[in-house]
Amino acid sequence: MREIEYQAVVKSVKRLCIDAAYFLPEDVTTALDKAANTEESPLGRTILGQCIINARIASTDNLPICQDTGFAVYFVDLGSDVHIKGGALTDAIQEGTRLGYSEGYLRKSIVADPVFNRKNTGDNTPAVVHIDMVPGDVLSITLAPKGGGSENMSRVAMLKPSDGIEGIIEFVVHTVVQAGGNPCPPTIVGVGIGGTFEKVAYLSKKALLRSIGSKHPDPAYAELEQTILAKLNASGVGPQGLGGRTTALAVHIETFPCHIASLPVAVNLNCHAARHASITL
């Protein structure tokens, strides 16, 4: 059994919150650069140029890339031979979030109750924490802060198996086109297919973590990703929904086996400020 200090987790999580908010991952900046070169709309090119300069300013001035520093969503792989010494893992993650959002001058965007008490909790907690138990003695934590604008445009559909590939394509394209400029296109489109109602939503979010430009390991799904991406970029929605050929930077699919009666599909959109940061302890 390997022991990891509670405070070491707190410190790492705090760092993740700040780094994710200030530094746009390289795969995203590369994709934005590429889009700025290929976009046909002059206004679209101007907007993409602003996104690129924005990321540069954020990293040099230690400013959040976007004022919506998001809901802190963590994907944790916890090795079964790891023991957190001095407290619970989830408590350490919440504590790190509290410190990161405070010391990093990040926006606190969480209200205590969705209906009766929409009062800001003041420290951006609670975070959402997904933990997977994995073999080994390593703890990996990925933070994907999620902005409200793109999250609000995400959808789940319980399709019929007979809807097939066409049904999936239609639902994903419809969701992105309907969202228009709201999720801050160009977006990264996370698509979950299969599993159950809650599992498919989780898959669509996890799909957003994949590096832009990476292909699905299954050639059939890799092709489906490209088919959907081409349709999205033919829609005309464009940067910020104001018209153009860059509506999405990537489509990422994650799948899971499913029930004989079902074909669940979920679309989780991420804005162009697709922030995430990881650490392995």
Partner: protein, 186 residues
Amino acid sequence: MPTRIITPPLDTKTIESLRAGDEMLLTGAIYSARDAAHKRLCDLITAKKPLPIDLSGQILYFVGPTPARPGTIIGSAGPTTSGRMDAYSPILLEKTGLKGMIGKGDRNSTVIEAMRKHRAVYFAATGGAGALISQCIKKSEIVCYEDLGPEAMYRFEVHEMPLIVAIDCHGGNLYLQGPAVYSRAK
């Protein structure tokens, strides 16, 4: 390159000269407001009580900035989704003389009709460019609703803030016109 500079308060003649798709730079004072501040303003109007600020001819910026680091003016300050303000904007346009709004994303038909009727304009700022936009903010102070935290109403003095006329007072709408130009969908 956007060269036209506009400065609030906006008059009807200026507003009527703006067309969806125009790029411009905004210099002058604007006020921030998100959902919670909009609700409070509209509740005051419904109760026939005075508002904490005079919005006549003014521009509301839909933004909730990140906190300023000590020694700086403001944190990251890009636009939020305007659709959430659709329930409130028509009331403000009718009752306060509000002339401009800055946000991101399309507006509903009720807002667009109110903009036509009361001669107002809706600008898009680039969503997700909060660090870039923060550099245009030269002065910042909380006007009211400080208890709302990031949703408090601020008064910003901005210099050459890059904007696009997204919806004009003649019904021109770049969220429809722009995608129509670039659509290849059959």
